[in-house]
C-alpha cells in the first residue's frame, strides 16, 4: 500500500466527477506526487495548450507516504502547465490538505476543463460534489475557508483555495491551503481561477495503510530519532528558514534592490533576532512555531503585526496572528525591494496568504517596478500616485494589496516581472529564468545555484537542486555540474514520496527515505531504483518542456548576472560562470549539446517511447 490506488477525475466542463483505479505501472515507475503527477500530466494534455485555457490540466498529487507516521508526511504537489513560464509547473505544499485528500481515499485529483460558472469541490470520502461558488467568488482565501466550513457545518474540512488574484489571472497567483500554507510558484492559482474553480474542500475517514506495518514503524521511528538529535533540525525549529538571511548577508549572496547589489544594510531589522526582539511598547513579532501534518521539525512561524504600525493601526481585522515570515518572504519583501520594516514585511506576508499570491514572484516583480521607477521609465502617473522607490515600506504594502485585489497598478504587477518589463520596453530589468522570478540567492556568489536556476524545469527555483555546501566551499563554477545533476535527481525522488525536502536539510540521508518507502510500498525499492526514478522524473519534465516549445536558449540567466559583477561580499567582482558549467551539465545528463535527452538516455530510463 502507501498508495490508495484511486484517482479522482473531475471534468468541470461537463460537471462530472468519477474515481478510477490508479495506474500502478506509472506508480511503480514514478512513485507519486511530483513524479506521478508529471506522468499523468504528460498523458492527459498537450504541452502546447494555453495555460489559462480549458485544455490545461490541474493535478493535486499526494505521495505514497503522505498521511503516514513518517515524519513530515503532509506534502502534496500541484501540477499543470504554468502561466508564468509556459513550462511545466510543479508546486509543492504542506499544511493539512494533502494528507486529508489521502485520508479520503485518493492518491491524485485531476481537474479538466472549465466550469461554466464559479464552483468549488466538496469531497467527503466517496461523495464528491461540484457546488456553486457564487457566494465566495470575489472573496479572499480566508473568507472562503471560513464560509465553506460554516456552510457544511464541518470544522474538519481542509480547504485549498484561491483568492481574487487567482480568479483574475495574476500570473503568480497561488493556491493557499490551511490559511497560510501554499502551492506557491508558477501561477498555479491562476490556472485554478481560469477553470472557475474557487476551492477544493476535503474530509477523509478512510485512512492510509502501509504494506509492512512493523518494518515501516521501525523505520519511521528511526527517522524521528535522527531528526530529534539533529542540530540543523533544532535551528529550523527555533529560527525557521529565515536564519539564512544573516548567512547570505555575510556571504554576499543576498539579492538587494533588484539584484543591483548582493548585501543589504537592513538585514538585522528583519532577521530571526528581530523577530523575537521585544519593542518598547511590548510587541514581539514571533509568537510560536507550528508544523505541517506529520512534521516533527515544525519550521512554520506564527506571528502578528504591531497594532500601532501604520499598516494595521486602523484595521482591527489584521490584529490576529497568522503565518509569519520565512527566508524567501524576508528576501522578497526585504532586501530585493530595499525595505527593512519587519511589521511591513509581516503584513505583506499576511496579504499574500489572504489573497493567494507567491511572495517571491510578487517581491521580485515589485523590485523590477521600483528600478523602472527610479530610472524614470515609469512615473507616479503609472503607479497610482505611489512613490515606487526602493525602501518604501508603504509602497510594498499598498502594492501587495492592490495586486491581491487586482486594482490599479496591481494589474500591471500581476503580469509578473517579465511581461511587465517587456511592456515598458526594458526586459533587462526582469530577474527571471523562463519567466519565473529568482529566489533569495545570487548566482554570482553561488555558482552552482546559478546553474540550478538556469536548468530547473519550472523556471528559476532554489528548491530543485542542492549544491549549497559545494558553493560555500568553492565559489567558482568548477565541478558544479555533477552535484547539480545528482541533487536534482535525488530531490525529484524526495518530492515524489510525500515527505518534505527539509528532512534532508535536518539530518536525513537518502537511506532514511529508502527504508520508509521500501516498507510502505509493494515491491522492492532499493536505493538505485529510487535514484533512477528521480532521474526519470527529471527527464520526463524536460520532455514536457521541449514539447511545449522551450529550448536550450531558455536555460540561461539574465544579463545582469552574466555580465555585471557582484559589487561586494565574498564574490566581489564575479559574474556567473554559466557558459562554462552548462555544457558540462548537459554532457553529464546524457543530453545533446542542445539540451535534448539522447535516445540512449531515454532508452536507459524507459522513456524511449517519448523520444
Amino acid at each position: 500500500m502507501g498508495w490508495q490506488r484511486k484517482v479522482l477525475r473531475v471534468d468541470l466542463t461537463s460537471g462530472t466527477a468519477k474515481s478510477e483505479p490508479l495506474n500502478m505501472d506509472w506508480a511503480f515507475d514514478y512513485l507519486g506526487e511530483r513524479g506521478l503527477g508529471t506522468k499523468y500530466l504528460m498523458e492527459n494534455m498537450d504541452p502546447k495548450a494555453d495555460p489559462l485555457g480549458p485544455d490545461n490540466v490541474l493535478i493535486f498529487a499526494t505521495g505514497p507516504l503522505t498521511g503516514t507516521m513518517a515524519s513530515t508526511s503532509g506534502r502534496y504537489a500541484v501540477l499543470c502547465k504554468g502561466p508564468l513560464t509556459g513550462a511545466i509547473a510543479c508546486s509543492n505544499s504542506g499544511g493539512k490538505f494533502g494528507a486529508e485528500l489521502k485520508f479520503a481515499g485518493y492518491d491524485l485529483l485531476l481537474v479538466h476543463g472549465r466550469a461554466p460558472k464559479p464552483v468549488y469541490l466538496h469531497i467527503v470520502d466517496d461523495t464528491v460534489e461540484i457546488l456553486p461558488a457564487e457566494e465566495i467568488w470575489g472573496t479572499s482565501v480566508w473568507n472562503t475557508e471560513e464560509w465553506i466550513k460554516a456552510h457544511h457545518e464541518n470544522p474538519l474540512l481542509k480547504v485549498a483555495a484561491i483568492g481574487e488574484a487567482g480568479e483574475r489571472g495574476v500570473r503568480f497567483a497561488c493556491i493557499v491551503n490551511d490559511l497560510h500554507r501554499a502551492a506557491g510558484r508558477s501561477g498555479v492559482g491562476a490556472v485554478m481561477g481560469s477553470k472557475n474553480l474557487k476551492a477544493v474542500a476535503c474530509h477523509g475517514t478512510v485512512g492510509v495503510r502501509v504494506d509492512d506495518p512493523a518494518r515501516f514503524m521501525a523505520a519511521a521511528r528511526r527517522g524521528h530519532e535522527l531528526l530529534a538529535k539533529s542540530q540543523s533540525r533544532q535551528e529550523l525549529t527555533e529560527y525557521g528558514t529565515n536564519a539564512m538571511i544573516d548567512l547570505m548577508q555575510q556571504f554576499g549572496g543576498l539579492p538587494t534592490r533588484n539584484f543591483q547589489e548582493v548585501q543589504f544594510e537592513g538585514t538585522s531589522k528583519i532577521d530571526p533576532a528581530a523577530m523575537v526582539a521585544v519593542k518598547p511598547n511590548g510587541h514581539r513579532n514571533l509568537l510560536a512555531n507550528k508544523a505541517c501534518f506529520g512534521c516533527t521539525i515544525a519550521c512554520g512561524r506564527i506571528a502578528h503585526i504591531d497594532h500601532e504600525h501604520f499598516t494595521v493601526v486602523n484595521r482591527k481585522e489584521y490584529w490576529h496572528a497568522s503565518g509569519g515570515i520565512e527566508y524567501e518572504t524576508a528576501y522578497a519583501f526585504g532586501p530585493v525591494v530595499g525595505v527593512d520594516d519587519l511589521d511591513a514585511l509581516t503584513f505583506a506576508g499576511f496579504l499574500m496568504n489572504e489573497h493567494g499570491m507567491d511572495p517571491i514572484s510578487f517581491g521580485a516583480t515589485l523590485a523590477a517596478a521600483m528600478e523602472l521607477y527610479e530610472r524614470g521609465i515609469i512615473t507616479k502617473k503609472d503607479t497610482d500616485g505611489i512613490e515606487l522607490k526602493f525602501g518604501n515600506a508603504e509602497a510594498l504594502t499598498v502594492m501587495a494589496e492592490k495586486t491581491g485585489k487586482y486594482e490599479g497598478f496591481g494589474q500591471v504587477l500581476g503580469l509578473g516581472s517579465k511581461l511587465m518589463c517587456e511592456k515598458y520596453g526594458h526586459p533587462e530589468y526582469s530577474m527571471t529564468v523562463k519567466g519565473q522570478e529568482f529566489a533569495g540567492y545570487d548566482s554570482r556568489a553561488l555558482q552552482g545555484m546559478g546553474l540550478g536556476y538556469a536548468t530547473s524545469n519550472r523556471g528559476a527555483c532554489h528548491l530543485k537542486h542542492a549544491v549549497f555546501a559545494e558553493d560555500m566551499e568553492d565559489q567558482t563554477g568548477a565541478g558544479k555540474a555533477k552535484p547539480c545533476k545528482d541533487s536534482q535527481d535525488r530531490i525529484a525522488m524526495i518530492d515524489s514520496t510525500g515527505l518534505c525536502l527539509f528532512t534532508g536539510e535536518a539530518g536525513w540521508g537518502v537511506e532514511a527515505f529508502q527504508e520508509q518507502i521500501d516498507a510502505a510500498c509493494e515491491g522492492d525499492w532499493p536505493l538505485e531504483r529510487l535514484l533512477e526514478t528521480g532521474e526519470r522524473i527529471w527527464n520526463l519534465e524536460r520532455l514536457f518542456n521541449l514539447k511545449a516549445g522551450l529550448t536550450a536558449a531558455d536555460d540561461t540567466l539574465p544579463k545582469r548576472l552574466l555580465e555585471d559583477p557582484a559589487p561586494s561580499g565574498t564574490a566581489k567582482g564575479k559574474v556567473s560562470e554559466l557558459a562554462k558549467m552548462l555544457p558540462e551539465y548537459y554532457a553529464y545528463r546524457g543530453w545533446t549539446p542542445k539540451g535534448v535527452p539522447t535516445k540512449e538516455t531515454l532508452a536507459r530510463l524507459g522513456l524511449g517511447a517519448n523520444a
Partner: protein, 156 residues
C-alpha cells in the same frame, strides 16, 4: 502507580503525529478520523490544544451507561468501553461534559481514550513533549517547579 496524560498546549505544534499514533494503535491504520485524541487550533494556529478523555474518577459516561459497558481499569485508572457489551445507544456521549467519548459509525460502538492499556502511544509519538505520561498525583509538579524557580520578581 497510576499515571495520567499531561498536556502542555504551549508545546504543541499541531503535527498530528498523536492522532495517527492513536488510530494506528487501535485500528492498524493511519486515520485521524478514528483518533481518540484531537488537536484544536485557534487564531490561525497560534494556539493548538490536544484534547482527550481525562479518565474521570467518577465518570459521567460510566454512570450513564444503561448496560454497564463502561468500567474503570484498576491498574491504569483508565475508563474503558467493553465492545462486547456496548449497544451504541450513545447516551454516554450526551453525558460527557467534555465530548471526549464519541460514536464510531463503522463499528456501532463508542470510542474513547483508554491510555493504550498503560503505554499511551500519543505520548510516545509526540516530538515536543506536549503530551507526557506522568504520576497521576503530580500532574501539576512541573508547573509548580517552574513557578517556584521564577521567584515572581523577588531578588535572587
Amino acid at each position: 502507580m497510576q499515571k495520567a496524560l499531561l498536556i502542555d498546549p504551549d508545546k504543541c505544534t499541531s503535527c498530528l503525529q498523536c492522532e495517527m499514533a492513536c488510530s494506528f494503535e487501535h485500528e492498524g491504520v493511519f486515520n485521524p478520523a478514528k483518533s481518540r485524541i484531537k488537536i484544536f487550533e485557534f487564531e490561525h494556529g497560534r494556539r493548538s490544544i490536544p484534547y482527550t478523555c481525562t479518565q474521570c474518577a467518577d465518570a459521567w459516561c460510566l454512570q450513564a451507561c444503561p448496560v454497564t459497558a463502561i468500567t474503570r481499569n484498576r491498574e491504569t485508572g483508565a475508563v474503558e468501553v467493553n465492545d462486547n457489551i456496548c449497544v451504541g445507544c450513545k447516551v454516554c456521549t450526551i453525558a460527557c461534559p467534555f465530548g471526549t467519548i464519541n460514536y464510531n459509525q463503522d463499528t456501532g460502538k463508542v470510542i474513547k481514550c483508554d491510555l493504550c492499556g498503560g503505554d499511551p502511544q500519543c505520548a510516545a509519538a509526540c516530538p515536543t513533549d506536549a503530551i507526557t505520561y506522568v504520576n497521576a498525583d503530580w500532574t501539576g509538579y512541573a508547573r509548580m517547579q517552574a513557578s517556584a524557580e521564577s521567584g515572581h520578581g523577588r531578588p535572587a
